[in-house]
């Protein structure tokens, strides 16, 4: 029996176990209506992101028609007595913003922007955090201590402060804002991965692999990480909602690169001065953010229930 075949056997049994678990997970998912609803919504939003430019012409954001700014078209439902009414014959189901652009169009254009930024941030945080955290957890010692202290520092910053300072400092481009949010997010994954690795490290299969002479990097990469990935997946899906909330909050507070940028938080900020004259400007973009975040949170929360080894059976 060579080392390779033993390792292959370990991998095979792991794969078999994982497939069985996957089947069980899918069984549970079908039983959970909320997760299904969330998944449907997520797919819906991804679909919109991909087809946005087909639904709304991309230069709709640049066509500013000031004659019809801040108006609401439906005469059936009037928001407030102070709201202006849009000119007849226009299809403006969600009213217009300060530049006279259709709010619906802007929201549709904003969804792909927000979603893609959220994905990028979550993926980068996860990748970076996992590498750093796994290495720290595996090696231990002084390096681990140092990483722990550094994450402590970042956790001690409340909420948005760090991101705000960074954003105010380095200008208002989408790239800098992305980095600002990343700064707030990465320590979570470091801690998470580290915790997972620490637990897995003590398990007997790791000892077995070490005894077989498998290189630690392979052990971590191909065995430990796949076995401990569930909480990270859960965290990722929950975080997409959180990142969108944070990112749009930054835009809302005034850090957006351009006031006309179709981004959900930015669109909402347009309505600040017009809360009682054009409430739809805050209501609908904010509502969109809520629904997107809710969708991902439903999926993440459901996944957490499904993947939690203790709550099963």
């Amino acid at each position: 029996m060579t080392v390779e075949t033993t390792v292959t056997e370990v991998r095979e049994s792991e794969t078999k176990a994982r497939i069985a678990e996957l089947k069980y997970a899918i069984y549970l998912m079908r039983q959970n209506p909320l997760v299904l609803a969330g998944s449907v919504l997520v797919i819906f939003f991804v679909f919109i992101s991909l087809t946005a430019t087909l639904l709304v012409s991309p230069d709709a954001a640049d066509r500013l028609i000031f004659t019809r700014s801040y108006c609401w078209s439906s005469s059936v439902f009037s928001w407030t007595s102070l709201a202006a009414v849009c000119p007849a014959g226009t299809f403006l189901p969600l009213g217009t913003d300060g530049y006279g652009r259709s709010v619906l169009d802007m929201i549709v254009l904003a969804i792909p922007l927000d979603l893609s930024i959220a994905f990028i941030i979550v993926i980068i945080s996860t990748a970076f955090g996992m590498v750093l955290g796994s290495v720290a957890g595996w090696i231990g010692g002084k390096f681990d201590e140092a990483i722990l202290r550094i994450t402590d520092i970042f956790f001690a910053f409340p909420g948005l402060v760090l991101a705000l300072v960074f954003a105010a400092l380095f200008g208002r481009t989408i790239e800098t804002l992305t980095i600002a949010v990343l700064l707030v997010w990465w320590p979570t994954y470091v801690r998470l991965s580290r915790g997972q690795v620490l637990v897995e490290k003590e398990k007997t299969y790791v000892e077995a692999l070490k005894a077989l002479g498998v290189h630690p990097s392979r052990i971590v990469l191909f065995h430990v990480i796949p076995n401990s990935i569930y909480p990270i997946i859960v965290q990722m899906s929950l975080d997409i909602g959180g990142v969108i909330l944070t990112f749009s909050a930054l835009m809302f507070l005034g850090f957006s690169p351009s006031p006309a940028l179709p981004e959900l938080g930015n669109l909402a900020s347009d309505g600040i001065g017009h809360v009682f004259t054009a409430p739809w400007l805050i209501v609908f973009p904010g509502l969109t953010i809520l629904v997107i975040a809710l969708a991902f949170n439903l999926v993440g929360d459901g996944l957490r229930d499904i993947l939690d080894p203790r709550l099963r059976r």
Partner: protein, 332 residues
């Protein structure tokens, strides 16, 4: 812990003072009438032309003497006063928000756990998840729209849209603690207290709505875990009523993580809920910190970051102590 404080201050220092083109630290000490030569003098006097690590050393020395500098944009007041005058309002908001969160979140979680997988469970799960999917600025405006504007137009008694106390009542009561509701109670002034209360409801609810969901989920998870424990079977086998089993045996175990979470939540809020305070014009620490960021006021930002970091680190210690009290198995 000390290391964390140094780390936080170092990072903020670097960001706030290391880029004088974006944030000019001497802006807090000059007026627009000063000539370039005078400005140079100010720069030299405060050492802003020195390398960063020397500036940091000067700053440390100043801080040890209690001098946190001045914040020009806030009427030129000493930075410490700018912070301290606002802090009690943040405290009031934090206490109110925490009470709301606990009062709604914990029963919601217990209900979810007891009626596991029924419609009530799903409903409370949706409420909880909606809560922490909600953008706080959006919800804040919705609250204002409904409870301030629409209630008014519909002829219902409406809640104020912002501020801590109505204009006409401001200063009617001596500021003992700085928290309007408490001061009102101490002075025995019912109108004042009621008014302060009316002002704090909406912002507190805004904060609570977002977090109570999270608390409810934690309570639910730990209740479910506890209810599967052997000692619950034992308690039931004694013929105890279900009510006693839950309230005496299960809850005391299940609420331990919830309590610690509440402690951390409280500490986090003490750092100032920037968005909520801004939307509701709440004169707290978070509100002011936003303006400080825009002004590039490194003095204030340093004080603010350090205080909040201190609170967060201290709260972790407090939570550890709480554990010792709540769980007799833990002895340190």
């Amino acid at each position: 812990m000390v290391f964390v404080l140094f780390g936080v201050s170092a990072i903020v220092f670097y960001l706030a003072r290391g880029f004088p083109s974006a944030f000019a630290p001497w802006a807090q000490y000059i007026t627009f009438r000063m000539k370039p030569a005078q400005i140079e003098a100010v720069i030299k006097a405060h050492g802003f032309d020195q390398p960063l690590y020397i500036q940091y050393w000067y700053w440390l020395q100043d801080v040890f003497h209690g001098d946190w500098g001045y914040s020009n944009w806030a009427n030129g007041l000493p930075t410490f006063e700018v912070f301290a005058s606002r802090f009690p309002f943040t405290i009031e908001l934090t206490i109110a928000a925490t009470i709301l969160t606990v009062a709604i979140g914990i029963p919601l979680g217990i209900l979810s756990a007891l009626k596991n997988n029924t419609a009530a469970d799903h409903a409370s799960r949706i409420i909880a998840l909606t809560g922490y999917s909600t953008p706080s600025y959006w919800f804040a405006y919705i609250l204002q729209l409904v409870f301030f504007y629409y209630f008014y137009t519909w002829g219902l008694p409406n809640l104020p849209s912002g501020g801590v106390i109505s204009q006409n009542l401001s200063g009617a009561v001596p500021a003992v603690t700085g928290l309007p509701i408490i001061d009102g109670i101490i002075a025995g002034n019912l109108t004042y207290t009621a008014d302060a209360f009316a002002h704090v409801i909406l912002p507190a609810f805004n904060l609570a709505f977002i977090s109570l969901g999270y608390l409810a989920r934690i309570v639910r998870a730990s209740m479910l875990e506890v209810l599967r424990q052997d000692y619950i079977i034992m308690a039931r086998s004694k013929g105890l009523s279900e009510r006693i089993v839950i309230y005496r045996h299960a809850l005391r175990n299940a609420l331990i993580p919830a309590m610690t979470l509440t402690g951390l939540f409280f500490a986090g809020l003490l750092g100032g809920a920037i968005i909520t305070e801004t939307v509701f014009s709440w004169p707290g620490v978070g509100n002011v910190s936003l303006r400080a960021v825009f002004q590039g006021d490194s003095n204030f930002l340093l004080l603010y970051s350090l205080v909040t970091a201190l609170i967060i680190v201290a709260s972790n210690l407090v939570v550890d102590v709480m554990y010792v009290f709540l769980d007799p198995r833990i002895k340190y």
